[in-house]
């Protein structure tokens, strides 16, 4: 294990969309060089956490500290330059630009051309299909290739922290597995810290080091992923494993212990 050195810390962060409060007092810590994951159902506020970190949404309350510097309520461009790149939910590629131009846009904030060119090669190394289709319009790629492009584009910003929002969305299990393998490689080989948001709890817990469980805007549980996987509540509600009753059937509805 790496030394526990927090790179990102959220303290009591609250964000809302107009009158609707999406996250209520979320505190979490991501250690340097690790993969952290936030689990939660639809509408739990996972994406809102990421958007608040990357400056798309300004929080109503709370502080976000990145490498010892407070970054809440700053301009997204400023935050990208500090070293946080966001790979948004639903890929969000630039459909009419070529794959290569999409990648170069990921490096928009960087001035060092040689380093950008090296990173382009690195990204092509992780996802060779992007090199093959570098000249094509990104909108013509398949869903999985667009997801690879989206991750690569975030990687082109040379981030210290990558925010990955639902990389498995709409992909086949096999492709999801491949993409997750590369995400882990990026973490191990490049030392990128990753904050991963996923619906697929099983997969997320298998790759991440530390997990947070988010329900209706609150963090209800946090622990190492090993221990989360062993937790009966997580197994029941996120991993879909049901305990069998003595008679082999269940007649009760299980209550969550954190409520």
């Amino acid at each position: 294990m790496t030394v526990e050195e927090p790179i990102l810390r959220l303290q009591n962060v609250e964000s809302s969309y107009g009158p609707v409060k999406a996250i209520r007092g979320v505190s979490l810590t991501v250690n340097k060089g690790t993969i952290a994951t936030v689990l939660g159902a639809n509408g739990a506020g996972k994406t809102t956490i990421l958007k608040t970190i990357s400056g798309i949404i300004d929080p109503d309350k709370g502080t976000i500290t990145f490498r010892g510097e407070q970054i809440q309520k700053r301009d997204p461009a400023w935050i990208v330059r500090r070293g946080i790149c966001h790979c948004p939910e639903g890929r969000e590629v630039f459909p009419l630009l070529s794959v290569r131009d999409n990648l170069m846009m990921g490096a928009y904030t960087r001035a060092d051309r040689d380093a950008v060119a090296r990173d382009l090669e690195m990204v092509y190394g992780y996802f060779p299909v992007l090199r093959d289709r570098a000249g094509e319009e990104a909108g013509k790629l398949s869903g999985g290739q667009q997801q690879m492009l989206s991750i690569s584009r975030a990687l082109m910003g040379d981030p210290d922290l990558m925010l990955l929002d639902e990389p498995s969305l709409g992909l086949s299990p096999k492709l999801t597995r491949e993409i997750f393998d590369i995400v882990v490689r990026i973490n191990r080989e490049r030392g990128k810290t990753i904050l991963l948001v996923e619906q697929n709890a099983n997969l997320a817990l298998s790759v991440a080091d530390h997990g947070y469980v988010l329900e209706v805007g609150r963090i209800v549980m946090d622990d190492t992923c090993e221990r989360l996987r062993a937790n009966p509540d997580v197994q029941e509600f996120y991993l879909g494993m049901k305990e069998k009753g003595v008679r082999g059937e269940r007649r009760w509805k299980k209550r969550k212990t954190w409520r």
């Binding site: 990357s54 798309i56 459909p95 910003g157």
Partner: protein, 290 residues
């Protein structure tokens, strides 16, 4: 031969429409609003060019000067008038741009030397004729065509190959993702306003030797708008093609059709295009994969 001559003058007139339409499309693509003051920006540009020439500057120097002057005015307009209403409904923004047009016309009449008079802009090539194989074409038309080709080449290279140009495309295709990438979308939008005001100024100065410089010359914007629609609002080459189509049809109907058709030709064309191909000739439809 006469047909060909009419067509050529139609093309040059149409390219003027096209240049103004280019401004409409640039701003529409970047900010999804329509700037109805585009014609007035052209008028202001023409007056700037006129003033430069009156103060003794050569025509060819007045052209970039008007471009630069309107560039600054365009950026100021975006910063002072449009940015504060960012996020308001599109209707609000449209009303504001129409208001900006009225204000521009009012201000021009107050400026000494500009006023409500009709001015002629002395261009070195004015009245020169080019003869080629039985064709007689006014030099001012040739200049318009050449200048438009040069300008659109420059714009193409800018949007295709420069970092800022590609980022502008990116921001117009997916604004949210552009924010995620740290692209300064707002700064680029004000740059776009600068470019489109500058292009309008070029259109104004190029048009001036053909017609006159006048406070109401901005109403030509009302014909540039159909040009943008025909081209498929959102396509830069479409704007120029739409402009040329309108210009040619207009000048042909001015010669061969009864009195009055010239003025409505543009609108008849728009109706036909909207019925036959609602997205316009170069209309882009990009679908998103999930």
């Amino acid at each position: 031969m006469q047909v060909l001559q009419v067509v050529i003058s139609g093309i040059s007139q149409g390219l003027i429409y096209g240049l103004i339409a280019l401004g409409f499309v640039l701003i529409y693509k970047a900010t999804e609003t329509v700037n109805f003051a585009q014609g007035e920006l052209m008028m202001l540009g023409a007056f700037l060019g006129l003033t430069a020439v009156t103060f003794g500057m050569p025509f060819w120097a007045a052209l970039p000067l008007a471009f630069a002057g309107m560039w600054v005015i365009g950026i100021l307009l975006e910063r002072v008038v449009l940015r504060p209403i960012l996020g308001q409904p599109a209707f609000t923004v449209v009303m504001v741009t129409i208001g900006v047009g009225f204000v521009a016309r009012g201000v021009v009449t107050m400026i000494p030397g500009w006023g409500t008079d009709t001015h002629a802009l002395a261009a070195p090539f004015k009245g020169e004729l080019v003869r080629a194989g039985g064709l007689v074409v006014g030099m001012e038309h040739i200049v318009v065509i050449a200048a438009t080709i040069a300008l659109s080449t420059a714009l193409y290279l800018f949007f295709r190959f420069t970092r800022v140009g590609v980022a502008m495309q990116a921001a117009s295709q997916n604004q949210l993702a552009a924010y995620y990438m740290g692209i300064p979308v707002r700064r680029l939008n004000s740059l776009i306003w600068g470019i489109s005001a500058g292009v309008a100024a070029l259109a104004g100065v190029l048009l001036a030797p053909i017609t006159f410089v006048h406070v109401n010359m901005g109403f030509i914007g009302l014909k540039a708008f159909p040009a943008a629609v025909i081209g498929g609002f959102g396509s830069l080459p479409g704007a120029l093609v739409g402009g040329v189509i309108i210009g040619v049809v207009e000048s042909l109907s001015g010669v061969y059709l009864p009195e009055g058709f010239k003025d409505i030709a543009a609108y008849i064309l728009v109706l036909v295009v909207l019925v036959v191909k609602p997205t316009g000739i170069f209309g882009e439809t990009a679908s998103k994969k999930v």
